[in-house]
Amino acid sequence: MAEPAPTATHGATIELEGLTKRYPGSAQPAVDRVNMEIKAGETVVFVGPSGCGKSTTLKMINRLIEPTGGRIRIGGEDVTGIDPVKLRRKVGYAIQSSGLFPHMTVAQNIALVPRMTGWPKSRLRQRVEEMLDLVGLDPGEFHGRYPRQLSGGQQQRVGVARALAADPPVLLMDEPFGAVDPITRDHLQDELIRLQRELHKTIVFVTHDFDEAIKLGDRIAVLRERSHIAQFDTPEAILTNPADDFVSGFVGAGAALKRLNLTRVRDVEMRGYPTVTVDTPLQQIFGYLRDGGTNEILLLDRRRRPYKWLRRGDLMRARGSLARAGTLVHDTVTRDATLRDALEAVLTDNAGRVAVTGRRGEFIGVVDMETLMNSVHELLEADRLEAMEHQHELEEARSRQTHFEQEGDAGEKKA
């Protein structure tokens, strides 16, 4: 390999074509003719019950398990026959419980793949620092440590750093967050989303946790036994329009609630709200409340951050002092919060509304129960239409294919 490119490599497509694994001595194949196209830069999550072959399918992509049939193409190149060692150096691999080598330091672990692929020494050191930085660990503090001196979450971060160190276009992750506690897992998932936004790798992620799949996946492949694809679609489509009972069983209860996790406050309509700032003359505030046709206004501080909710009677009771009047704003959400967070805030607020703030905490708008409900209904309706359209397309494509196959067969028979 020549001097590695300083810029990060973006993802490559992965195509699986009739991928099959048959173990000697068992009647049924463990993985049966999987066809799948994964777009460059996409995160695809394989989710399914244990023993469904999702892990086997993943391990066939870097040929840790040799397929007994079918082909694998990465970035258009057929890798089914190339040297598996060479293939694996171009494909990042992260596993449960990190798989760090305990006898090597964090830096040595991370440098392994770049070193094997012949990066110059000077570049290695710098790369290790970069990678530690990327996964949110302080290079100075961590690079000389041994894996056993790290917490589970930190080990997992280093595991991801090692997988990405040689800048592979493709990253395979086999239940990487399965062995850490729920809070750490949540952090790691957020981190992965952030990483992916920067790096645009093609990620194939295996999990049995559907909520994790929804959170991380651009598309989710719900697999049933022998890795048969029950549904391969966006999280939205799977939630609102599960293909069959198996998928809806896997989605579990509360699909509409889970849907709320997929939409951000920025995507829904916010209500404007009458506001005044602490610098507004009292007389004017009185005026607003009396004539404005509104019961309540939002008082902002000097940096336009939500400060207090003021109701009509509040100022009277406080005898005209702004300092004593109204109720403090105790909870706000950002535009990046999920609708679920917003709903939570609205439900706990005693007046059923929450202020939305921008990057520096400045007031942007308000969401309340009504706006939330309207947006959710609209979202669900849109999802449903989209899913139906999508299904229609699929059916058409399938019928075209069957048609074609039958024609082809007929042609062969004639010949």
Partner: protein, 215 residues
């Protein structure tokens, strides 16, 4: 003549014997380690081959050393050859067994990770499996050395080198003035050598076992 006087008058001879003893054990240990680890590497992946290697080496150990060396004399002659052959073979068992146990004990998830990030077979062995199996292998080497220290004394029977000569000379002339001193000097010398070797292994362990897996 008291023991101390005996030591004083014979120290030249004793030191030479001790050095030869140590050097014989050391050289045979190197041979046994290389053969033992290679045998372990060759057999640990297969259940039957591993068991075969362990059984074969342990059956060597059941042969009485005196008889073994005696049997070697008509085949390879007197002196160094029977000593080296006997010591090396006796030293194998602990090393082979610990190498197999150590290599089999490496976490399969780590081997999977090593394969997954693109390490070839030999590289996996050299960079991951052997370093992780090294602590038990070193223990095997240590046990083996202790054992060989004693067995090497018997080599004197075949005119081999070492402190065994002192012991045999003493035993042959029991009742004479220096007989007891000779046996005592030879035995104590072997004990001291064994302790020195053991100390050396502790040091080697410190230097070669990476901090990340040191117990």
């Amino acid at each position: 003549m008291s023991f101390w006087e005996y030591l004083g008058s014979r120290h030249q001879q004793l030191l030479t014997d001790a050095f030869q003893h140590a050097s014989a054990v050391f050289q045979c240990m190197v041979l046994a380690t290389v053969t033992g680890v290679l045998t372990g590497i060759a057999t640990y992946r297969s259940a039957w081959a591993g068991n075969l290697a362990t059984t074969a080496t342990s059956s060597i150990l059941t042969v009485p050393s005196l008889a073994f060396i005696g049997l070697l004399i008509p085949v390879v002659g007197l002196g160094v050859p029977p000593t080296v052959i006997a010591l090396t073979l006796y030293g194998l068992l602990p090393i082979v067994r610990n190498a197999i146990v150590g290599l089999r004990g490496v976490d399969p998830a780590l081997v999977d990770a090593a394969r997954g990030i693109g390490m070839s077979g030999p590289m996996r062995l050299a960079r991951v499996e052997l370093p992780l199996a090294w602590p038990p292998i070193l223990t095997g080497i240590r046990v083996s050395t202790q054992m060989l220290m004693g067995i090497a004394a018997v080599a004197a029977y075949a005119s081999g080198p070492g402190l065994g000569n002192e012991i045999f000379r003493g035993l042959a002339s029991l009742g004479s003035r220096n007989a007891l001193n000779q046996v005592l000097a030879g035995t104590l010398g072997i004990v001291i050598l064994a302790l020195l070797f053991d100390a050396a292994y502790v040091l080697i362990g410190r230097l070669t076992i990476p901090r990340g897996i040191r117990g």
